[in-house]
């Protein structure tokens, strides 16, 4: 029997497929390098925010240190490629697994902490990793690592002449994160996560095993974030602690999900589609020479959305859809 939930989930899958098709042809008429780059970065952050959303949204554990997993994905994949000549598609998985392992290692002690204590612990652990990376010469220290160009190919995941292949790489990443979220949302563990988020005590009384549920969310979230990091490293061709392990990056990973709607399937996509172009455009048109005006705008935007739309921008669409159905 197809109940309301099954129908809704099928509809979501259909919308997802249509959106994927639209995004697949979107860059074809846009030949401008700047625009293509903007779309790629937006998609990448949509995927990262979706990865964050699994732990921070569905499971309700507000991590403010996700750049740690991003950075680990970057470093593992890059060092394997640079020192070991291992192709990035393999390094990406290794990076994701390493990030997942670290996420579990972080979660093991930190999931005993609640609320603000957990959020601050995640910031601190990320900050320790950042400071250590700055001082660790074997992984490039503060000066970072350049990724040598070894010929344009999918195996090397390096494309110089055209940005189009990159578009499909990040689109595949977004599709992966979205499908993961969609699958888990309807599964037993997805219900467990929402129960943990809403009321830990009630969840426990219903037989939800709190700690394993949180660990599962951390593992999945860490893995996907690490994969995103590995893609980013290959895309920009240069990594250093400031660009891949920093506190502001951790916020930027979480923010699209918060703006679009936490714990929702579409929130991270909507949030990224609004936030990332706004941020990139304002910093390239207003922020030249670091005048700070772009930061003021960015801050105002965050405050405005948080206060005016606490349930996220995605809820605007939802209301429209409901009205249309009625």
């Amino acid at each position: 029997m197809a109940n309301a939930i099954t129908i809704r989930r099928r509809r979501e899958l259909l919308i997802g497929a249509i959106l994927l098709a639209v995004l697949a042809v979107l860059p074809l008429p846009l030949h401008d390098v700047y625009t293509r780059n903007l779309i790629i970065i937006t998609l990448l952050f949509a995927g990262l925010a979706q990865a964050w959303n699994i732990l921070g949204g569905y499971c309700g554990q507000i991590s403010l240190g996700h750049s740690l997993y991003f950075g680990i994905g970057c470093y593992v994949s890059t060092l394997m490629f640079v020192n070991g000549h291992i192709p990035p598609p393999i390094g990406m998985i290794a990076g994701g697994l390493a990030a997942a392992a670290v996420a579990l290692l972080v979660g093991w002690p930190c999931f005993r902490l609640s609320g603000h204590y957990y959020a601050i612990a995640t910031v601190v652990i990320q900050e320790i990793a950042y400071l250590l990376a700055l001082n660790w010469d074997w992984i490039g220290g503060a000066s970072g690592v350049y990724i040598p160009f070894r010929g344009e190919s999918w195996l090397n995941l390096q494309f110089r002449t055209d940005k189009l292949p990159w578009h499909y790489v990040v689109l595949a990443f977004v599709a992966l994160t979205w499908l993961t979220a969609w699958t888990l949302e309807g599964s037993r563990i997805g219900f467990a996560w929402r129960a943990v988020k809403d009321d830990v005590i009630a969840a426990r009384s219903l037989g939800v095993r709190i700690f394993p549920s949180k660990m599962a969310a951390a593992g999945v979230s860490g893995f996907l974030t690490g994969v995103g990091g590995a893609i980013f490293a290959q895309y920009v061709g240069y990594i250093d602690p400031d660009s891949i392990l920093s506190g502001p990056l951790a916020i930027l990973i979480a923010l699209p999900a918060v703006l679009g709607g936490v714990g929702t399937l579409w929130g991270p996509l909507i949030g990224a589609a609004v936030l990332i172009p706004l941020k990139e455009l304002s910093s390239s048109y207003l922020g030249s020479s670091g005048s700070g005006f772009d930061l003021m705008l960015y801050g105002l935007l965050i405050m405005a959305v948080a206060l005016l739309r606490p349930q996220g921008l995605g809820s605007l669409l939802k209301r429209g859809a409901d009205a249309g159905a009625a």
Binding site: I120, V124, N135, I251, V262, S291, D294, P310, Q311
Partner: protein, 290 residues
């Protein structure tokens, strides 16, 4: 050897008192209304720029400007509460997340504003009577601006304790204990929250002015101190003044010792590691209420 140890311990103590006072303002606001102010470091930065500007305009000794800046920050704290926090508290969805991101947005806004007005370069205040002077105890040298800062921090702590004995302090404590019940005995919760924000901002303002006597000012100076403040507050236990003082001193000592024994660039790793270690055994911090 003995002098080196004394030097390390004393400089850790002086810095620790500043950390403690920065954390006290944060802890006060958190204890009152369960809001972590992620713009706390930026309030400190505002105080530093305020004293810098007033010093340049008036030519007065920066330390004499302390009451003016504290009053300014008090007003700023109240304004932030009225304009932003009161609204964030009345939100019905995702309350915790709204509070985090409203104060985060505020932090980014203030940082951008400072960058906009003052540019990114480092500035320092040289006009204090104490600048570049040191006190010496045998072979141990202590810069006077830091000694003064530590002394003022101690006074500010005493002031906070004194306030907690007054009628207002008792209202603060009562609001903390039970936000709903205080309305029944005629305490205006909104007013107490606003004053709490004013007091929290003024506290970090005092720390900022004293810090500006020996520390450079830049739009990003707050971020680093804020992180230390969160660690201090979480280590001491949210909402506990005594916890903030004890944890601030501990953090200052650990930092000084790590810098001396290991490497100065790793000094924060030491304090963060101590924080994590303590949290493993006491998830609510040293003095936090379980």
């Amino acid at each position: 050897m003995l002098e080196t140890i004394a030097q390390v311990v004393l400089s850790g103590l002086l810095m620790g008192l500043i950390y403690a006072l920065v954390a006290a303002g944060l802890s006060l606001i958190f204890g009152l209304m369960d809001v972590v102010n992620f713009a706390h470091g930026e309030l400190m930065m505002v105080a530093m720029y305020a004293v810098f500007t007033l010093w340049q305009v008036s030519g007065l000794d920066p330390f004499m400007l302390l009451p003016v800046v504290a009053a300014l920050l008090f007003g700023l704290g109240i304004a932030i509460y009225r304009l932003l926090i009161a609204r964030a508290l009345s939100v019905r969805f995702n309350k915790g997340m709204v509070q985090i991101f409203v104060t985060f947005g505020l932090a980014i806004f203030i940082r951008g504003f400072a960058q906009f007005v003052y540019g990114g370069e480092f500035r320092s205040i040289t006009g204090t009577v104490l600048a570049n002077r040191t006190a010496s105890l045998g072979d141990v040298y202590l810069p006077l601006p830091q000694l003064a800062a530590a002394f003022v921090c101690l006074c500010a702590f005493a002031g906070l304790l004194a306030i907690s004995r007054t009628e207002f302090g008792r209202a603060l404590e009562a609001t903390r204990e039970d936000r709903e019940a205080v309305a029944l005995i005629g305490i205006d919760r909104d007013r107490i929250f606003a004053l709490g924000w004013g007091l929290g901002a003024a506290t970090v303002g005092v720390a900022g002015v004293m810090l500006a006597g020996f520390y450079y000012v830049s739009p990003n100076v707050g971020a680093n101190f804020a992180l230390i403040a969160y660690v201090t507050v979480a280590l001491g236990g949210f909402g506990s003044m005594l916890g903030a003082l004890a944890a601030g001193l501990l953090i200052g000592e650990v930092e000084a010792i790590t810098a001396a024994v290991l490497e100065p660039s790793l000094k924060q790793v030491g304090m963060f590691a101590i924080y994590l270690a303590v949290l493993m055994f006491r998830p609510r911090g040293l003095f936090g209420k379980i």
